[in-house]
C-alpha cells in the first residue's frame, strides 16, 4: 500500500464463529465474506476479552480487559485511548454507525474519537407489542396468582395466557420490518455510503456495528429468501421469538423451535453479508477499496441451548459465546494459515494499527501480533473476564459481583467462577462442545499452568494512567447518576 490506508471496522453483534461460512459453517451465511476471506488473514480462534457487549468492547476498541479499571467502570473511560482516538489524532476522518445498542452509546464513552457518531438510539422504530403485554388487569393477576399455587394449573395458565397474547398481537405482524427492534444493516450502510461519498483525500476510520443477528431475530424477507427460508412468515417469526423468550418453558420444549430460530439468526448474518458487499462496491466505485483495511469481528457469540441457555448471558462462558470470527483484509498482504491457538481480542487494536504503520499505544494491554501473524502467529493463550451475574451494568449491585475468569490455551480451558465458587477445566480437543468438565484432580499440569496464568492476570498492577482513567470514569458516572436523580431535577427547577 502506498498512501496511508483507511480502516473499516465491522463488528457484528452476537455472531458466533461457527455460524460464519468463511469459518466453515455449512450454511451460506457469508458468501461475500467467503470471497474476501480468500485474500485475508482469518484468525481461526479469536477470543473475546469478555461477554456480552459491555464486557467485550473495551477489548476490541481500547485493547483493555473489561475489569482492568475496576468493576465499577463499564465502557470506555473519558480520555482513554482507542482505535478511534488514535486514528483521529493521526489525521483520519472518523465516523461510527452503531445499530441501536445502548451499551455502545456516548453514555458509555464510545463516541470518543468520532467526528460523526450515530447510535440510532433516538430513532423511533416501529414497535409491535410483546407477546405478553406489560400490564395485566387486577382480575387477571388474581387468577394468575391462584393458578400458580398449584403447579400444573400454573403451567396451563401460562400457556393459555401466552397463546391469548400472541393472538392479540399477531394481527399487527404485517412485515418483518414491523417486528425489528434495531435498524437493519442496509440502514447503516446507506448512511455510511453517504458519509464516504462526502470525504476528500484524507484516510478514514469507519466503524459499523450491526445488530441483525441479535434477538429478536427478525431478518428482512430478502435475507430469508437467500437462505431458502422464504416460507417463514412474519407471524411465525413473531411467534417463534415470543416463544424463545419464554422463561416458563423447559429446554426440551424449546428444542422444538431451535432450528427455526437458528434459521432466523443465520438470515440476519446473511443480511449483514449482503450489505457489506454493497458497501465494498461503493468503496470500489470511490477508488477507496484498494487502500482500505477491512477488519471484521464480533463482540460475542450466541447460545442456542448448547448449554441449556439462550441469547448471551455473561454467566455462560462457553465457546459459543467467546469464540468469534476475526478477519483482517490488508491490501497487498496474502492470505496465510494462522495459528489455531486462542488469539485474544485485546491484541486486535495494536495489531490493526501496526498493520497500517501507526505506533500502538503504551496504554494498550494487548500487543501487536502483526509481524508474527505473517509468520503464522506465536500467540498461545487468551483470557476472558466478566461479572457472571451482571445482566444489567446500570445496576451497581450486579456490576460489583464476583468475577468469571476464563483462561484457555490450545487445548485446555479453565473457568473460574468466583461468585459460585466453581472451577471447571475442559479438554477442548476431546470435548470441543464442553459437555464434561474434567474431574478436579485430572490434568494437573494443564490446570496449574492455566491457574498460574489466571493469577498473573489478576496480579497486573494498574499503573498511574489506568488509575487516572478509573477516576475519570467514576467521576463521569457520579455526574451521570446525579443528573438522572431527582435532586438534579430539583436543582434545575430552582
Amino acid at each position: 500500500m502506498s498512501a496511508q490506508p483507511s480502516v473499516l471496522l465491522v463488528t457484528v453483534d452476537c455472531l458466533r464463529a461457527d455460524h460464519a461460512s468463511f469459518m466453515g459453517y455449512s450454511q451460506p451465511t457469508t458468501p461475500f465474506l467467503d470471497q474476501v476471506a480468500a485474500d485475508s488473514m482469518v484468525f481461526p480462534k479469536a477470543i473475546t476479552a469478555g461477554a456480552p457487549t459491555y464486557y467485550s468492547f473495551p477489548g476490541i476498541l481500547a485493547s483493555r480487559f473489561p475489569l482492568a479499571l475496576g468493576r465499577e467502570v463499564v465502557g470506555i473511560a473519558p480520555g482513554e485511548p482507542t482505535l478511534a482516538t488514535v486514528l483521529q489524532h493521526a489525521g483520519y476522518r472518523t465516523a461510527a454507525y452503531v445499530a441501536g445498542n445502548p451499551y455502545l452509546s456516548s453514555r458509555f464513552g464510545y463516541a470518543q474519537g468520532f467526528e460523526v457518531f450515530h447510535d440510532f438510539l433516538s430513532e423511533q422504530l416501529p414497535q409491535v407489542g410483546e407477546a405478553v403485554p406489560r400490564a395485566r388487569s387486577r382480575l387477571n393477576q388474581q387468577i394468575a396468582e391462584l393458578a400458580h399455587r398449584v403447579s400444573p394449573l400454573g403451567r396451563l395458565y401460562d400457556e393459555l395466557y401466552f397463546q391469548y397474547c400472541h393472538r392479540m398481537t399477531a394481527s399487527k405482524c404485517e412485515s418483518w420490518d414491523s417486528l425489528r427492534r434495531f435498524p437493519a444493516a442496509d440502514v447503516l450502510v446507506d448512511q455510511a455510503c453517504d458519509w464516504l461519498a462526502s470525504l476528500d483525500q484524507q484516510p478514514f476510520f469507519l466503524w459499523l456495528h450491526f445488530m441483525d443477528p441479535h434477538a429478536p431475530y427478525c431478518p428482512p424477507a430478502e435475507a430469508l429468501k437467500s437462505m431458502g427460508a422464504e416460507r417463514t412468515r412474519p407471524e411465525r417469526g413473531h411467534y417463534l421469538n415470543a416463544t424463545w423468550n419464554r422463561t416458563d418453558l423447559g429446554v426440551e420444549r424449546l428444542h422444538k423451535y431451535r432450528d427455526e430460530i437458528v434459521r432466523l439468526y443465520d438470515s440476519g448474518i446473511r443480511w449483514v453479508d449482503t450489505q457489506l458487499e454493497r458497501l465494498v462496491e461503493m468503496l470500489r466505485n470511490l477508488s477507496l477499496w484498494d487502500s482500505s483495511v477491512l477488519v471484521l469481528t464480533a463482540d460475542h457469540g450466541e447460545e442456542f441451548l448448547d448449554h441449556a441457555g439462550r441469547f448471551h448471558a455473561p454467566s455462560q462462558p462457553y465457546q459459543e459465546m467467546l469464540h468469534v470470527p476475526f478477519l483482517m483484509r490488508v491490501p497487498g498482504v496474502k492470505k496465510m494459515a494462522l495459528s489455531e491457538a486462542p488469539f485474544s481480542h485485546v491484541h486486535l487494536a495494536p495489531t490493526v494499527l501496526d498493520a497500517i504503520g501507526i505506533e500502538p499505544q503504551e496504554a494498550f494491554e494487548g500487543r501487536s501480533c502483526w509481524a508474527e501473524a505473517q509468520r503464522g502467529g506465536d500467540w498461545e493463550w487468551a483470557v476472558s473476564e466478566s461479572i457472571g451475574r451482571c445482566t444489567n451494568p446500570m445496576d451497581e449491585g450486579k456490576r460489583m459481583g464476583g468475577r468469571l475468569l476464563v483462561v484457555q490455551d490450545r487445548r485446555y480451558k479453565l473457568v473460574l467462577d468466583f461468585d459460585r465458587k466453581r472451577e471447571e477445566l475442559f479438554d477442548l480437543e476431546n470435548d470441543p462442545r464442553e459437555l464434561r468438565a474434567l474431574p478436579p484432580e485430572a490434568e494437573k499440569s494443564a490446570r496449574v499452568s492455566l491457574l498460574r496464568k489466571a493469577l498473573r492476570h489478576l496480579e497486573r498492577h494498574a499503573d498511574g494512567f489506568k488509575r487516572e482513567l478509573a477516576i475519570r470514569a467514576r467521576v463521569h458516572e457520579v455526574g451521570l447518576e446525579w443528573k438522572n436523580s431527582d435532586m438534579y431535577s430539583k436543582t434545575l427547577a430552582s
Binding site: 475489569l67 475496576g70 468493576r71 465499577e72 460489583m400 464476583g402 468475577r403 475468569l405 473460574l416 468466583f418 465458587k421 472451577e423 494437573k444 490446570r447 496449574v448 491457574l451 498460574r452 489466571a454 493469577l455 489478576l458 496480579e459 477516576i471 467514576r474 467521576v475 457520579v478 435532586m487 438534579y488 430539583k490 436543582t491 427547577a493 430552582s494
Partner: protein, 70 residues
Amino acid sequence: MGKEPNSERELRLPTHLCEAAEQLITGTEFKSVEELLAFVLRELTSGGSAQSEAQERKVIEERLRDLGYL
C-alpha cells in the same frame, strides 16, 4: 494525619470553582460545597473492586497451594 473519623483537613480550591459548585447545589440537599465534595470523594473511594480482586487472587493462590505448586 488525623485518623479519627470526625477529624478534618482544610483544602484550597479556586474561588470560581467554589462559586460554580454553590450555584450547582442551590435547591439540593447539599448544604455546602464541602458536603458536595465529601459526597463525590466518598463515591470515588468506596469501591469494592480492590477488595474483591484481593480475595480472588487469594482463592487462586490457595488452589495452587492445594495442588502443591505454591
